[in-house]
């Protein structure tokens, strides 16, 4: 993966991070470890996502009664998860922003047409004024994520205020976003090689939602 994508922000590729990915990629990793180490990666993604938010000057007084010029976040945020796998990332966001508002979108593949279909949307009412951290651990074809983005745009969210967090992304999915939503920032831990015939990311982590919730 030498190709650089200017809409993608990747986590720093340390040996520690590679070690975390080795654990979650391994098909022999038991579910409790998969959940634990995925959560660690998700936490890093959330923190990187929050780094993308703009700040402004904030002058405060310290306990020693000295003024100090610090910073505070400018603008409000919320999270929107794509059910079911995206919900695995909600806790990571809550761990960093305790009372963050969370919207949910359910998109499922229609068995007859093989295209994604929107089933359910519940979003904070003032979402159009907020930065949105869109949560989905895997960016594969980008089909359902694109549909979720359309829902957000229809609700008045500005494209450049959407930050899309995922654990693993495919070059194909990234290209879909670059072509259609160039202002959306994608934050991902790793970009894999490609998609296979079954539209799985290669080498991937398998079905993230299944491994996190039910296998």
């Amino acid at each position: 993966m030498d190709k650089e994508y200017d809409n993608v922000i990747r986590l720093r590729e340390t040996n520690q991070l590679k070690c975390l990915y080795t654990i979650i990629r391994n098909k022999n990793t038991p579910r409790e470890d998969f959940v634990f180490y995925s959560d660690r990666i998700i936490r890093l993604l959330v923190e990187e996502g929050l780094n993308q938010l703009p700040i402004e000057s904030n002058i405060i007084e310290t306990p020693l009664n000295v003024t100090y010029e610090g910073s505070k976040f400018k603008g409000k945020i919320c999270g929107v998860s794509i059910i079911r796998a995206g919900e695995s990332m909600e806790q990571g966001l809550r761990d960093c922003c305790r009372s963050v508002r969370l919207g949910k979108i359910l998109i499922q593949r229609d068995e007859e047409t093989a295209t994604p279909k929107l089933f359910y949307v519940k979003l904070p009412s003032d979402i159009s004024e907020r930065y949105v951290l869109l949560l989905d651990p895997l960016l594969a074809t980008g089909g359902s994520a694109a549909m979720a983005v359309n829902v957000l745009l229809e609700n008045g969210v500005k494209e450049d205020k959407i930050i899309f967090l995922n654990v693993l992304a495919s070059p194909e999915g990234i290209k879909v976003f670059k072509d259609n939503y160039p202002k959306i920032r994608i934050i991902t831990g790793m970009v894999d090689e490609c998609l296979n015939d079954q539209k799985y990311v290669v080498p991937g982590v398998g079905d993230f939602g299944d491994r996190y919730y039910s296998i």
């Binding site: 070690c19 296979n196 799985y200 982590v205 491994r211």
Partner: protein
């Protein structure tokens, strides 16, 4: 090439001898109480009786064995123990059972380091090599008749022995040995206390002297710590990682500094920055790639990962927290490495002198390959950190495997720490005090506040 000499490598050693029943123990306790020095240990020669062969043991049970002869006590062993403590090694002090005339198997007192060692027993001033280790030698010179009457009282009333055997033992062993071996050691003493513990003037003078000596020792230690920072050695900043000032790090720093921040919000954000610091420090842990181990993994869709991309963590990570400010990291540590073994060190700084004093060490078993995260929320003078690192090295931790994690640190502390221990790694969020060599200026990093607010004791 550590140049830091911890105070326990030159413990102040006091020897107290005197006849049985002379009041040695009372004098020792009075000294301990008055000097009030942390890390003081009392070694009683009673724990160093030699183990008896079955024949001698049978004699002992018939009151025919001479326990009051110098040969009954393993003076070589006590010499080795004191030397070992002086060298900062973990030392096992045996325990002796008087009812069985045996050392108690699998039971001993573990001692690591001491500022003051008090050795107490009738033959304390008997062995030349042991005398050479002592800084102050005391002989408690109570009249032998008074010793006898005290002994009678103690053995009969408190130890339930019959009067005949006590008198026999006194006449056969205690008195002759006292005159032949114990009383002559009086001339080895620096100070003789007539009438024992009742002689409060002598005791006061002795304690006054000891306090002065300890003060000199403590000043030397502090000056030595200061010297570490004054040497004009360039700091190797490669080993110091200051976490990147991202937007959220800036915001969190502001929240932590704001005096309006409520305690619960403060703890929440400190936990967050602690997570970031811990993640950063884990980058110093050794991860080995699969190709060097001939090993890789397969993903659920049965694709093998290129061994050069698969990384494995081999070494155990151990956390060591300097109580109390280091404890602020433990919650975040548990979230990152749930089962990490955690060691604790209580090092407190004397508020009058600024000298760090080690009060307690509880460390897990550390192997050569263990990597140790050493936590201290604020490093101001660096003295406590230096002491903690020295303790870890004494417990066989490789200097390369120590990662010091703190939230704030001063440049002076970094200079001192890296001067003494150039190979450790350090991860921090704020470095301050540029150009300042005075550790007590009023800059905010020199003001201890984190653990106070974190634990709500502000």
């Amino acid at each position: 090439m550590s140049e830091y000499i911890p105070p326990w490598s030159s413990p102040y050693i006091i020897g107290i001898a005197g006849l049985s029943g002379s009041g040695k123990t009372t004098v020792a306790q009075e000294i301990i109480k008055s000097i009030n020095e942390p890390w003081t240990i009392l070694l009683s020669l009673d724990n160093f009786y030699k183990e008896l062969t079955p024949e001698l043991s049978a004699k002992a049970f018939n009151n025919e064995y001479d326990f009051d002869h110098p040969d009954a006590i393993d003076l070589d062993l006590i010499y080795e123990c004191v030397k070992s403590i002086k060298n900062g090694k973990k030392t096992e002090i045996p325990m002796y059972s008087f009812s069985n005339h045996q050392r108690i198997k699998d039971q001993s007192i573990t001692i690591y380091g001491a500022n003051v060692i008090i050795i107490e027993g009738i033959f304390t001033l008997f062995k030349k090599e042991l005398l050479d280790l002592m800084d102050c030698k005391v002989f408690v010179d109570t009249d032998i008749d008074i010793c006898y009457s005290r002994r009678l009282l103690r053995d009969i009333v408190h130890r339930g022995r019959d009067i005949k055997s006590v008198i026999e033992q006194w006449d056969a062993f205690v008195k002759p040995n006292a005159i032949l071996y114990v009383l002559p050691t009086r001339s080895n003493a620096d100070i003789v206390i007539p009438r024992g513990s009742d002689n409060y003037i002598a005791l006061e003078l002795l304690i006054e002297h000891l306090k002065n000596q300890l003060k000199i020792k403590s000043t030397e230690h502090i000056n030595h710590l200061k010297m570490l920072g004054l040497k004009i050695n360039p700091i190797n900043w490669d080993n110091v990682t200051i976490i990147e000032e991202t937007n959220q790090v800036k915001v969190i720093k502001t929240i932590l500094l704001n005096k309006e921040t409520k305690n619960d919000i403060f703890s929440f954000y400190f936990d967050r920055i602690a997570s970031i610091l811990i993640n950063e420090s884990l980058n110093f842990v050794k991860y080995v790639s699969g190709d060097s181990m001939g090993k890789t993994i397969e993903t659920p869709i049965n694709v093998k990962i290129n061994p050069t991309d698969a990384f494995f963590q081999l070494n155990e990570i151990i956390a060591v927290s300097i109580i109390r400010s280091g404890d602020c990291f433990i919650k975040s540590l548990r979230r990152t490495i749930p089962a990490a073994k955690i060691g604790k060190l209580l090092i407190q700084t004397d508020s009058r002198t600024g000298e760090p004093q080690l009060h307690t060490e509880k460390l897990p078993i550390i192997t050569k390959n263990s990597q140790v995260l050493l936590f201290d929320a604020q490093t101001i003078s660096g003295a406590a950190s230096i002491m903690a690192i020295k303790i870890l090295l004494d417990h066989n931790v490789d200097e390369n495997n120590i990662i010091l994690v703190n939230y704030t640190t001063t440049e002076l502390a970094i200079k001192r720490i890296f001067h003494a221990f150039p190979k450790i790694k350090s991860v921090t969020a704020c470095v301050g005090g540029h150009g300042s060599t005075d550790s007590d200026n009023d800059w905010w990093m020199c003001h201890r506040f984190i653990d106070n607010i974190y634990y709500g004791t502000n």
